[in-house]
Amino acid sequence: MEMLLSGNQALARGVFEYGGEFASAYPGTPSTEILQTIAKFFKDDIYAEWAINEKVALEAAVGASYGGARTIAVMKHVGVNVAADPLMSLTYTGVGAGLILVSADDPSLHSSQNEQDNRYYGKFASIPVLEPSDSQEAKDFVKASFEISEQFDTPVMLRITTRISHSKGIVEIGERETVEHGGFERNITKYVMVPAYAATRHKVVIDRLESLKEYAETTDLNRIERNGADVGIITGSISYQHVKEAMPDASILKLGMGYPLPMKKIASFAAEVKNLFVVEELEPFYEEQIRAAGIEVEGKKYFSNHLELNVDRVRDGFIEAGLLDASVKSPTSSAEPEEVLPRPPVLCSGCPHRGMLVAMKKLKLYTTGDIGCYTLGALPPLSQIDTCLCMGASIGHAFGITKAGKTDGKVVSIIGDSTFLHSGITALASAVYNKTNTTNIIVDNRITAMTGGQDHPGTAKTLMGEKTHAIDLGALCKVLGVEHVRVVDPYDLEETIGVLKEETERDAPSVIITNRPCMLFPSKIKDEPYAVILEKCTACGLCFSVGCPSISTSEEKNEKGKPKSEIDPITCTGCTICAQVCPAGAIVPLEQ
């Protein structure tokens, strides 16, 4: 049977078909749907969970693998940074049953803070990296990864990208196959990484890499597609698809295994063709290694490491290299686009983060930010988020700026509930320990919202839908040593501004927690909509400054020609923030 599946769905299907029994992840675009698919369709056969962060996800996965279950740990590219600590020694211990680390990279930063190339982690940790180029391979490579993991006693990185994760293609579906593994067996010199044992294991890793290099030479994951001898292209992942379309006459060495490289195969391929190129997205990972092996090759000179590749960019590179005629491009390919206004993403109508951001703006606070929907508060008209670096960074930023003591004005941090649990707790404990006096705001909307509404240890529900313990964020902050923990209703601007003012003036650490749920997840919330009384509206524009997508300019203008506002009753949720900032009392419930 054939199904139309995204790379993420196909990968999940692969975990099912090839005997996976355990899956752990922290949500992160573009990887999130892998675990959701497993939990939705395969939960009778595979245990699936949201871990509190990627490090814990990988550690749990390692335990499951040691304990005899074929396992995957799933995360976005920057999540691997969080999980890098266990990863770098896991490579020494090796695995029990097959263990796959899925890294979902995000070239073009569609929804990320950087576009790091995680193939380098494969080289760094001396572990194999497999790179599927479409949905079918996303499924098939799960099988190959489990087998390599077990044959070579190594974790395997299955590296996908946004275009693999979120493109759909036709996939051949099969039945579930299982492999028998026993439970955990004591093996202290293999699993206990104290210096003496770890030193021995490092030698094992070095020898293992040599065996993997031999494997790379013979595996059908790496294949040559012979065509013309004029141009030879070494490529993998989604770039393979762009190359196939852009350069139909070229010979191709398609790398399904991106590390370690089959250098003998590459050398013989190089000898077959006149001009050798590497087409790879992001960094010159293959190119540098191939060049270091003494093989003449071109790559980044024509195909930049900036942003994702596509057919146009592959064609342009080969046109520039003088190996493709410009006439292959569509006559309209260089047509000028029309000038159209931008349409950036915005906080949803009724988003509970809006009230807190408006209150911060009112008090002219600097706001160190974090990873989540509230980061959209950095965009105009709110422009209220001043930093964004990585998960959990906001608390340390506010602490550091304050301790440095050179900044006029107050600095507060803002962090979401899921992000606070992920890596804000340790930052807050450290700040309190080091005698901070900062105010830290947890915008607690009771869900991981930015990635589409996933549960976490504060929501009382597991990924598989079971009820569970919910962490009380206020009580947690208190035991970390924050005496002043306040809860506010972000839909009450006066209260929110008042509490924010009190706490930022206090010479002691404090935490303010907002108490309204996300408007979208787990279910949509909509109260009675509000409307603008045009006769009362003076066109002062203050309601526009809250940045709500339901408020727009009306046809009516004031005496100076400034447009009055209007509210879309279909999308307005009745949160009342605009009504509270309106000095003319012109915004009232629609029914009035």
């Binding site: 036709i170 596509n310 491009k329 931008p342 990635t451 589409g452 940045g547």
Partner: protein, 192 residues
């Protein structure tokens, strides 16, 4: 069509149903026995941002992304979004746009303006661009949610896929209990 591949670009604003429409089109191509791929970016798009979905089908599809200027058909769910992507249309391609405006909040800064006469600018580039009053038609059929299916019906006239396969997929993928209504909406669009 280039190399026997049909490329369709569906565009709109987050929340308009672009992704479901492209899902249906790709599924119809698959049911016809063709190779088919589609690609879009999730994540921030659902927060009212620009949404595009690339759908490609034919004997063998490699890249899931449509090269510049090679869209055989563009279906726009919104006027300004139609204008934003019109330069991607291939020579002789089909352009269909829903007569609907979604004015983004950024206009309230006074620095950006929703395009006046978007349809005029569209016609200046593609004289035979088709404007569909899908919202009015949906109201006549008694359900504003039918806009997407009506647009698919209009689009289906310009794409070589069988009517019975369209109806089969729409019936299967429509929300429970709305199969007949969506079938009617599709056929209304197809005869518009």
């Amino acid at each position: 069509m280039k190399n026997g591949i049909t490329s369709v670009l569906i565009v709109g604003v987050g929340g308009q149903g672009v992704l479901l429409a492209s899902e249906i089109l790709t599924e119809v191509a698959k049911v016809m026995g063709l190779d088919a791929k589609k690609s879009e970016v999730h994540g921030m798009s659902q927060r009212g941002g620009v949404v595009t979905s690339h759908v490609r089908f034919g004997e063998k599809v490699y890249s899931p992304l449509i090269p510049s200027g090679e869209a055989d058909l563009i279906l726009a769910f919104e006027l300004a979004e139609g204008l934003r992507w019109i330069h991607q249309l291939a020579e002789g391609g089909t352009f269909i746009v829903n007569d609907h405006k979604l004015v983004p909040p950024i206009t309230s800064t006074g620095k950006f303006f929703y395009p006046e006469d978007a349809m005029g600018r569209i016609k200046a580039r593609v004289p035979d661009a088709k404007l569909v009053k899908a919202t009015d038609i949906a109201k006549e059929l008694g359900n504003p949610r039918l806009v997407n299916t009506i647009l698919l019906g209009v689009m289906s006239k310009s794409i070589d896929l069988a009517e019975d396969k369209w109806l089969e997929v729409i019936k299967r993928m429509a929300p429970k209990g709305t199969g007949e209504l969506n079938k009617k909406a599709f056929l209304t669009g197809r005869s518009t």
